[in-house]
């Protein structure tokens, strides 16, 4: 199952009006600095061989200034030797919020399945997730959230809940309409009071 190119994956999300954070490939420390335009950024190494990016030191968070960017870029290149082929992605630094995971999978027997849970580093630790078969209804989405142990963290106010519910519906639609998408991870999606952004995208086709 090949990994869909990050920017193509982003394009697919765009098509379903799923918001993801501003990103671009960079091929040098200079181009990374150009992308930053003086703001704080994230650099990530993307390779099919790496699922656990943060654990492997492949995510450089919250970097700032030409010097820091250059050091981070060089370190990624060094780590990347074992992970070829790879690309380096520059992203804007997301504002803080609650990290959730939204995922999709193809069950051999039942077909497309949608997942939501507490995201980021908590995914593996708590495995607090809810699944539903696609396509889901709005009521299914509401149920998924209310059945999470961490529901009070994930949906800390009604507005955040509405955002996630509509996001879940969109992802369900994407999964249902794109037979070729076999797996999908939006992890984390950072949810804030009035909006959200998918910060990392993995789509397998």
């Amino acid at each position: 199952m090949p990994l869909l190119d990050y920017m193509q994956a982003r394009k697919l999300l765009d098509k379903y009006k799923i918001k993801s954070i501003g990103s671009a490939y960079v091929n040098s420390a200079e181009s990374a600095a150009d992308f930053a335009k003086g703001k704080r950024i994230v650099l990530k190494l993307i390779s099919e061989k790496a699922v656990h990016k943060s654990r492997a030191g492949l995510v450089k968070l919250d970097i700032d200034g030409e010097k820091e960017i250059a050091a981070a870029y060089d370190d990624l290149v060094r780590r990347g030797r074992m992970l070829r082929p790879y690309k380096i992605l520059a992203q804007k630094m997301a504002d803080p919020g609650v990290e959730i995971i939204i995922g999709g999978n193809t069950d051999a027997q039942f077909g497309k399945v949608l997942l939501v849970g507490l995201g980021g580093v908590y995914v593996e630790a708590f495995k607090d997730v809810q699944l539903r078969l696609c396509p889901i209804t709005k009521a299914d989405a509401v149920d998924m959230l209310s059945e999470l142990q961490s529901r009070k963290i994930v949906t800390y106010d009604g507005k955040a809940e509405d955002e996630i519910v509509s996001l879940l519906m969109k992802v369900s639609k994407l999964l249902t309409e794109n037979k070729k998408v076999s797996e999908l991870d939006l992890n984390p999606v950072i949810v804030r009071q009035d909006s959200y952004e998918a910060v990392d995208i993995r789509i397998l086709t």
């Binding site: 995922g103 039942f110 849970g117 995914v123 699944l131 539903r132 078969l133 009521a139 797996e183």
Partner: protein, 460 residues
């Protein structure tokens, strides 16, 4: 697939019927006779002229009647031959009790009999199963002696079990419950008729109000989902799914894949389509019991009436810490009316502690007022029969109230001999009784969740 001839047979052929006590074919014959089955019984055995006082036939082909149900209890290698004869004799349905097929690696032999069943379009349950029981038709293909496993009384719950052992154990326990049974189907290896066919039949069966399902694996995923969409809109299904530990063992390409193993997906499907998920055999029965009472809650507010303060608090704790239920806050009018009729030592609150000297009269007054309270959707009544005032007259009040009340009502009662006797009377009167607050509140919550699901799916 129409399973009516199997569940309501006008006549039954028992192939492999035997004169020797203890043999499977003998036990099945005896059970049919003992249960008072009213249709015609045809023993089939190539070496006998008469079995248990009935004329025996060499083969099913010798019988002049068209057979609705043939129970096949012969050694596995002979099953293909016998089944072929059933096909030629236009038998409408068969239950293959015999083991020795896919469960022991004899996949080819199983495929062979499945082919034969398909060729003649015989509804075949099994092989390797206990078969079917219909309490109204007094038809029962189980090879378990009556004295070792009680048969449930007639009721509205139908129980489907892939496993014969789990099936017979639960059946034995159901026999001790007040709610009774409509149908029991143990379908074993599911070579032809599987859970989808059975559930579809029960969905359309008017005698079945509640379905209880023990399942190990779903064979036809897509068909199951299609059916599940319709099924729970019509009637509640309580499910116990085994096989939790085999989930999620595949090497994962993504976080989602590792968290979405087949077990997790099946559980999600049950949740999505409004099944009540039980985690063990006792929960399966607890849930069945509350659903069998056939009253739908209109909300999540619970009133607790008790004759023991401590038990009331424990129950209130369970309700307050449950996910969807909450303690009711009586309407002002109810509070005033309660204050008027209750003795001074009764504090008007929820839980309502009627005190240790509560008798039938006090229970009735409380039930009447709280039963009519517009802020109360469900009633939990704790009766500790150890106290002086709690006697059979309280039991009678409860049974009376259950008849007139349109809100869910259950009783929590803990104790031994005396209590058990009263609990049995309550259950016979249609009042579900629980011996623990946790079991009671979990069951009530399952009932509420299903009601929510149903009202939600009807407005979609």
């Amino acid at each position: 697939m129409d399973l009516t001839p199997m569940m309501k047979p006008m006549n039954v052929a028992i192939i492999g019927a035997s004169r020797s006590p203890g043999k499977v074919g003998n036990v099945i014959m005896q059970n049919y006779i003992a249960a008072g089955y009213e249709g015609k019984l045809y023993p089939v055995n190539p070496n006998a002229d008469e079995i248990l006082g009935r004329k025996s036939y060499r083969t099913v082909l010798e019988i002049k009647d068209t057979i609705d149900l043939a129970v096949i209890a012969v050694p596995a290698p002979i099953v293909p031959l016998v089944l072929e004869q059933c096909g030629k004799a236009k038998v409408k349905s068969v239950v293959v009790v015999s083991g020795g097929f896919a469960e022991v690696g004899e996949v080819k032999l199983q495929d062979r009999i499945t082919e034969i069943a398909k060729k003649y379009r015989i509804a075949m349950v099994g092989p390797n199963c206990l078969g079917v029981m219909d309490t109204r038709a007094k038809s029962d293909t189980m090879f378990l002696p009556m004295k070792k496993i009680s048969r449930p009384k007639v009721g509205s719950v139908s129980f489907v079990s892939q496993s014969g052992a789990v099936g017979s154990t639960v059946l034995d326990v159901i026999a001790g419950e007040g709610f009774g049974l409509s149908k029991f189907i143990s379908y074993g290896n599911a070579a032809y008729v599987d859970e989808v066919d059975i559930l579809e039949y029960l969905m359309n069966d008017d005698e079945t109000k509640v379905i209880v399902l023990y399942i190990e694996g779903i064979k036809r995923g897509k068909e199951f989902v299609e059916l599940a969409r319709k099924l729970t809109k019509k009637k509640p299904v309580v499910v116990l799914k085994a096989g939790r530990t085999s989930a999620g063992v595949n090497a994962a390409h993504s976080h989602t894949a590792s968290l979405a193993g087949n077990y997790a997906v099946q559980e999600a499907i049950f949740r999505q389509f409004g099944f009540a998920i039980a985690n063990d055999l006792s929960e399966l029965l607890y849930y069945a019991k509350i659903f069998a009472s056939e009253v739908k809650p209109s909300g999540n507010r619970v009133a607790v009436i008790t004759n023991g303060g401590g038990a009331g608090v424990i129950t209130a704790d369970e309700i307050a810490s449950s996910r969807y239920l909450k303690m009711a806050d009586y309407a002002e009018g109810t509070k005033k009316a309660l204050k008027k009729v209750m003795p001074g030592l009764v504090n008007i609150a929820n839980p309502l502690d009627l005190a240790g000297d509560a008798d039938a009269n006090r229970y009735r007054q409380a039930l009447d007022l709280i039963g009519a309270d517009r802020n109360t959707d469900m009633l939990v009544v704790i009766i500790l029969y150890q106290t002086p005032g709690a006697d059979p007259s309280v039991t009678r009040e409860m049974v009376q109230k259950k008849i007139t009340l349109s809100k869910p009502l259950l009783v929590i009662s803990v104790g031994t001999e005396y209590t058990e006797k009263q609990a049995k009377l309550l259950e016979e009167g249609g009042v579900p009784v629980y011996d623990s607050p946790i079991a009671a509140i979990d069951s009530l919550e399952a009932l509420f969740e299903y009601a929510e699901f149903k009202s939600r799916s009807s407005t979609r």
